[in-house]
């Protein structure tokens, strides 16, 4: 049998190669006579055994030998599809060969026993090729799901329990060559049971084509079969009723309830409750005298505001100057329609007949209506005030003379910024100190320099002792305070000054040792160039940059901001003793002040001004100026008013009798305020700023508590240059005259006279 099979397969292969292409066209015709006899054999053999074991293989006759190994499971699936095809082919092949028929011909005979006709199939003759069971089943592993062995090298076990190895499949190249050689390769699919590529039959291809085309996969299905009428149609009508029961009475007598309902309606119509057809409301709107009856006392709603009346620009023939230039036109067109001041561009037409239709007419009406019902209306009081009336009426500066209004002279320092100045109590001399350590003494009237001292390090502060009977001033250089006696003074005053600064009998040293040392050089080394007295502040306490003398000239307060301790010291010259009034201070102290009349002490930290009572050793008041960083402050000679200036350009005027909030806040400088001072005798005060200007104010303070102080701006003094963002650094009034001395960053000191 194996030989036979081998032969067959050989032949078939040849045939495949020969006319593989024509196969599909040829086969349906069933005219493949060359092979018919051999197929016959097989057919017969298969017929005998299983009726429908390999029907299509039998029919197709183009399969390989191995194809006959197809498992039953696939067969069963295909069976239903194939069977009708079988029948078709049966018919076609019946002519050529009857024995090709799968089903043996049945005969109908009359049964002897029942006398009924019965179908009798012919006996199966167990000859050589009648039973396929004798043929070796190519599927040697049995009817098992092949996927069990997907991952294994074998495909199952044969009847003897030996592994059946997976046949070689060839590599990708072989596959490719196979596709090249075999033109039918693209219509074949891998069959797991046989482990071979099996070409799809034309039926299968047809099914695929149908599925692909979205048709019914069954070729024999006719979607448009003529309807078979079983119960309807001509001659099939039901004539007789289903039941033989009698018709109820209600079917043929008029309804009582219906009559009642109808009568109700009829009665209603008769009585006129229902109008059969209302007279059609042709009532066109007719106006009448609506305002004839008196109006209600309800107040009428406010009338809507009327749109503005047209102006000359809207004329069809406006004066030439209303016409927009090209730039105006472009600007108007570029603007958003909402931003436009006018909703039209003025245009000029030489005559009325040339005026076209206005294309925005409907749109404008619509916008007006939107305004009427969508826009909130607010009643606004139109401000019709003269702006000049808002400016406060103050007395004219001319009536408030004298005040400094011009620069009378200028004193120049060699190079660097002049940080500090001080005017002698008699108002004749000025000392000024710069950042190079130069301290110059010069006459206020002529600006002639009398004496110059040179120190190491920059001069932080200068202060002339307010006593008249003695004459000296304090200079603050890094960590030290020097007391200098000016040149060219009266001998009596000089001797008194020397005795004050360096008494022959030193006062007794304080009980507790102070970190501050007072030193006086021996009297034979005294000269004009060297200080008579020096106070050494504790090391690294920084340059003292603010001095404040008590009015009696005995106490000097110094503030060092740069240092570690940030200390405030009060030095007593007669007792040669220094004390720190505060153990600990919140915030860094900017300036301090002695109250002119009371034993009060003002301390300005960055944001607050605190007033301490020195005799009672307690806090009296805290002022809140609302300045970010206080730069300077000064107290009015009366002691009731305080002005505070800040680096944030604000100047606050405090009435100390009133609250801790400022009475008035002024902001007129364009840069930080550096310095300010009240004039000791005249009702003036001035402030200087980094914008290079000095502002002079008249400030009259009244004795009665009811009248507010009068502040009148008098003059803005300009003349200093701004260097590196620094302007006028310090200003001081001259005691006896309304004169002002200002030190600026442009290394000049100016005297302003009235």
């Amino acid at each position: 049998m194996a030989n036979g099979l081998g032969r067959k397969s050989l032949k078939r292969k040849q045939e495949d190669e020969d006319d593989g292409a024509f196969e599909q066209e040829l086969r349906p015709n069933g005219t493949l006579e060359m092979l018919s006899d051999e197929e016959d054999d097989e057919d017969v053999s298969s017929d005998d055994g299983q009726l429908d074991a390999f029907p299509e293989i039998v029919d197709e006759s183009d399969t390989d030998e191995s194809e006959e190994d197809e498992g039953e499971e696939e067969e069963e699936e295909e069976k239903s599809e194939d069977e009708d095809e079988d029948e078709d082919e049966d018919e076609s092949e019946a002519e050529s060969d009857d024995s090709l028929h799968v089903f043996p011909k049945a005969k109908t005979v009359v049964s002897d026993i029942t006398k009924q006709p019965k179908v009798v199939y012919p006996e199966i003759e167990p000859d050589y090729d009648s039973d396929s069971s004798t043929e070796e089943d190519p599927n040697r592993v049995g009817n098992i799901p092949m996927h069990w062995y997907d991952d294994l090298p074998h495909i199952g076990y044969d009847i003897n329990g030996q592994k059946v190895l997976r046949p070689a499949r060839g590599d990708e190249l072989d596959k490719f060559l196979a596709t090249v050689d075999d033109s039918s390769a693209w219509t074949s699919a891998f069959d797991k049971n046989t482990q071979m590529d099996k070409p799809l039959t034309s039926e299968e291809l047809d099914i695929i084509r149908r599925l692909y085309a979205g048709e019914n996969p069954d070729a024999g299905y006719d979607p448009y079969e003529p309807m078979t009428e079983w119960f309807t149609g001509k001659g099939k009508e039901e004539v007789m009723p289903l039941s033989g029961a009698l018709q109820p009475k209600r079917r043929f007598i008029p309804s009582k309830w219906e009559k009642q309902k109808v009568m109700k309606i009829v009665r209603a119509i008769r009585q006129g409750r229902i109008l059969p057809s209302k007279p059609k409301s042709t009532s066109k709107f007719e106006p009448y005298a609506i305002w004839s009856d008196p109006p209600s006392n309800h107040p009428p709603p406010l009338p809507a505001p009327k749109p503005p009346l047209p102006t000359n620009a809207e004329s069809y023939n406006p004066p030439e100057e209303y016409l927009p230039t090209e730039e105006e036109r472009k600007a108007w067109e570029a603007q958003d329609p909402e931003d436009r001041e006018r909703d039209f561009l003025p245009q000029k037409y030489s005559s009325l007949r040339l005026v076209p239709a206005y294309d925005q007419f409907v749109k404008e009406r619509f916008n007006r209506q939107l305004d009427l019902y969508l826009a909130p209306r607010v009643q606004r009081v139109k401000l019709n005030i003269d702006p000049e009336s808002l400016i406060p009426k103050l007395p004219s500066p001319n009536s408030l003379k004298p005040f400094p209004n011009y620069k009378s002279l200028q004193f120049l320092h060699p190079s660097s910024r002049v940080r500090c100045i001080s005017v002698s109590p008699d108002g004749a001399w000025v000392v000024s100190g710069d950042e190079d350590g130069n301290v110059s003494l010069w006459e206020i009237m002529v600006g002639r320099e009398v004496k110059r001292w040179k120190f190491k390090g920059k001069v932080g502060a200068l202060a002339w002792c307010p006593r008249i009977d003695v004459c000296y001033f304090a200079v603050g250089i890094e960590d030290t305070i020097h007391f200098l006696i000016p040149a060219n003074i009266d001998s009596a005053i000089l001797s008194l000054t020397q005795s004050v600064l360096a008494p022959t009998t030193l006062p007794p040293a304080p009980a507790s040792p102070s970190p501050v040392k007072w030193t006086t050089p021996s009297s034979n080394t005294w000269s004009l160039d060297t200080p008579v007295l020096t106070i050494d502040l504790p090391a690294s306490s920084g340059t003292p940059n603010h001095f404040c003398w008590h009015r009696k000239g005995d106490y000097l307060s110094s503030v060092c901001t740069g240092g570690v301790h940030g200390g405030v010291w009060i030095h007593q010259v007669t007792r040669r003793h220094s004390q720190a009034p505060f153990k600990k201070i919140k915030g860094s102290v900017q300036t301090v002040l002695f109250h002119p009349l009371k034993p009060h002490f003002f301390v300005a930290t960055q944001q607050y001004v605190r007033i301490y009572n020195l005799s009672e050793q307690k806090l009296v008041k805290t002022l809140i100026p609302g300045i970010k960083w206080i730069s300077s402050m000064d107290v009015h000679p009366s002691g009731d008013h305080l002005i505070v200036g800040g680096y944030d350009r604000k100047l606050c005027w405090f009435d100390l009798e009133l609250s801790e909030k400022p009475y008035k806040v002024l902001r007129y400088h364009s840069r930080a305020i550096r310095s300010l001072q009240f004039h000791p005798t005249y009702p003036l005060f001035a402030s200087s700023s980094d914008d290079g200007s000095i502002q002079v104010f008249h400030s009259r303070v009244y004795n009665d508590l009811m009248t507010d102080p009068l502040i009148v701006p008098l003059k803005i003094l300009r003349g200093h240059k701004v260097v590196d963002g620094l302007g006028v650094l310090q200003i001081r009034w001259c005691n006896k005259h309304p004169w002002l001395v200002s030190a600026a960053a442009d290394s000049s000191v100016a005297v302003w006279c009235s």
Partner: protein, 606 residues
């Protein structure tokens, strides 16, 4: 202890309501809400603090007074709108089911609302209504000129045209028109009715089309209200004037485009009122009727007196027809006895029969509706060619025509002798003349307006806002007489003035150049006395200038003492003044402006 205060229970939170809350409360659609707001005249309000009014949210919403919404909730129209909604549902169901007969009966019994009570509510007195008819008139005149389509039924347009014609008839009849302005948008008219100025805008006679971004439903809702309002107002105006309302329409005339003339004004006393509504109205107010009749009698007598006046003035006009017409009727007012009525409206009577001595004829290219209305409201007679519509009282060859309003350049063609004769007897003026005469309140010279002349600028009779630029042409009245009598002296004067100007400049600039200035003055032939005077004047000026500068410096310093609030207010006022001044300054650069403009026009010619 007082009662606990809960947040959101009092104040702004309770007084205001957002739009969505209002719609929710009224249980109607947004479209119905809009309709209600338009009809009732409810508009959003701006709360002082939006956050407080909106439960702390600052979302952009519009707010209404809660009381306004409560007022809307009681509105009978709201009920009708709800009924209409139900009706629409029923109708669509009937149509969907194909139940045509029930659909038809539904349609017949469609709920309709009336706006009478709203008119009465919104305008409790007649004066209130007249004050507010500006917008209504604008809308009605606009819709009268719109083409009808599926959204605009022809009846609506027809009704608007009727209302517009009725208004014009009334204004003509009562001689109420005061000012007319030909703008690029249309023609503005201002009339004085019941002592209220009513201004309305009529588009030029072109087909207006409704742009796509205009919601026609909003306009139609407004129009609905306006039509009702106007018909009530006109009814009152007509009946008060002793006329029949509505004036009967002659359909045949209307078809021949007679316009306003298709309606005929009928006296109430002559008419046997066939309409029941009229009788009921008048029977309701018997006292009123009496008053009306009195008034109508008075009006009749007045018309008679006017006729007499007209005859007088006609004869006067005939007498000096060849000369320039006398500016208006000053002498006539002295002739007429000052009755109480004329005294009360004295400044108006001056100009209301401005055109009564004249007869006008419209040339075919001038818009007839505008000029017929304008001329007739000022007492003139007017005729027009048949191409402008039927109903002209006389034809072109009528000998009484004094003025022809013509808007085309003069044709260069041979004229027959009788044409020339006609031409010599008539004045040919451009349409602007009519309007300018009305605005000036007197008859202007025809010369600058004659055919083919470049017209003087047409200025707005309503004026400009305060402090705005006033063009030079506004001050120059064209009626003034002799000009440029002696040119020689004028030139001399000019030279002297120039010399003195230089002196002034020299003094103000520097005293050292005074000497040269003196020389210049001498050369120009100025006598020494005047030179001295000028110098003194200049010196004084310098002193003044210095003073002013000092003052300014002082006030600048005083600004320091202003409080923050005052300073801000000051800056705001200053800014707005500066802006206005800048606007005027822009106009006062005539040279630059004119140069730019001539450049432009040259470019246009190229």
């Amino acid at each position: 202890m007082g009662r606990l205060r809960t947040k959101g229970k009092a104040g702004a939170a309770k007084n205001y309501m957002t739009r969505s809350a209002a719609v929710k409360k009224l249980q109607c659609s947004l479209a119905d809400f809009r309709r209600l707001c338009i009809l009732k005249g409810i508009f959003p309000r701006e709360p002082r603090s939006r956050k407080k009014a909106n439960k702390g949210s600052s979302a952009p919403t519009s707010f209404y007074y809660t009381k306004d919404i409560a007022y809307l909730a009681h509105e009978p129209i709201l009920k009708k709108l709800r009924e209409h909604k139900a009706f629409a549902k029923k109708l669509s169901r009937a149509l969907g089911r194909g139940e045509w007969s029930s659909a038809k009966s539904l349609e017949e019994n469609k709920p309709v609302y009336r706006l009478d009570h709203i008119i009465k509510e919104r305008y409790p007195t007649f004066i209130d209504a007249v004050r507010d008819i500006d917008d209504a008139l604008c809308m009605v005149f606009l819709f009268a000129s719109l083409p009808s389509n599926s959204r605009l039924p022809p009846e609506l347009v027809e009704n608007c045209a009727r209302l517009a014609a009725e208004w014009q008839l009334y204004v003509i009849h009562s001689r109420a028109l005061r000012k007319v302005f030909l703008s690029i948008k249309g023609v503005y008219y201002q009339a004085e009715v019941m002592d209220q100025t009513v201004t309305w805008l009529v588009p030029y006679q072109f087909t207006q089309n409704v742009p796509a971004d205009v919601d026609i439903r909003v306009m139609l809702t407004f129009l609905e209200l306006y039509q009702t309002l106007l018909s009530f107002v006109f009814f009152k105006l007509y009946t008060d004037a002793g006329l029949v309302y509505p004036p009967p329409l002659d359909t045949k005339k209307d078809e021949n485009a007679a316009g306003v003339n298709a309606f005929s004004l009928q006296d109430n006393s002559r008419q046997i009122s066939g309409k029941p509504t009229h009788t009921t109205a008048s029977s309701q107010i018997t006292g009123k009727l009496v008053k009306q009749t009195i008034k109508s009698i008075a009006a009749n007598s007045e018309v008679d007196s006017e006729d007499v006046e007209m005859a007088i003035s006609d004869s006067a006009a005939d007498a000096d027809e060849d000369f320039t017409p006398i500016p208006s009727s000053k002498d006539q007012t002295t002739v007429a006895l000052p009755t109480l009525r004329t005294l009360s409206t004295l400044p108006q009577t001056l100009s209301t029969d401005l055109f009564s001595p004249y007869t006008f004829f419209l040339s075919r290219e001038t818009p007839r509706p505008i000029f017929e209305f304008v001329v007739r409201s000022f007492g003139g007679r007017i005729g027009w060619p048949p191409s402008s519509g039927a109903g002209s009282p006389f034809d072109e060859l009528d000998p009484s025509i004094t003025h022809v309003i013509i808007d085309r350049p003069p044709a260069k063609k041979e004229e027959s002798s009788e044409e020339r004769e006609l031409r010599s007897r008539r004045k040919y003026v451009q349409p602007q003349w009519i309007v300018d005469c009305i605005n000036a309140g007197k008859i202007l010279l025809e010369e600058p307006y004659s055919q083919g002349k470049i017209l003087p600028p047409h200025l707005s009779p309503f004026g400009e806002h305060d402090g705005a630029y006033i063009p030079a042409s506004a001050e120059v009245a064209p009626a003034e007489g002799e000009e440029g009598s002696d040119d020689g002296t004028v030139e001399e004067d000019q030279a002297h003035r120039d010399a003195l100007d230089t002196v002034m400049d020299a003094v103000t600039e520097e005293p050292t150049s005074l000497r040269t200035a003196e020389l210049v003055a001498e050369a120009a032939g100025v006598d020494f006395g005047s030179f001295e005077a000028t110098v003194k004047q200049a010196a004084k000026k310098i002193g003044k200038k210095a003073d002013a500068e000092a003052d300014r410096g002082e006030s600048d310093m005083n600004k320091m003492m202003m409080s923050n609030k005052q300073r801000k207010l000051y800056e705001k006022v200053k800014y707005s003044r500066e802006k206005k001044d800048a606007e005027v300054r822009l106009f006062l650069q005539p040279f630059a402006k004119l140069m730019a403009h001539t450049q432009l026009s040259k470019n246009n010619f190229k």
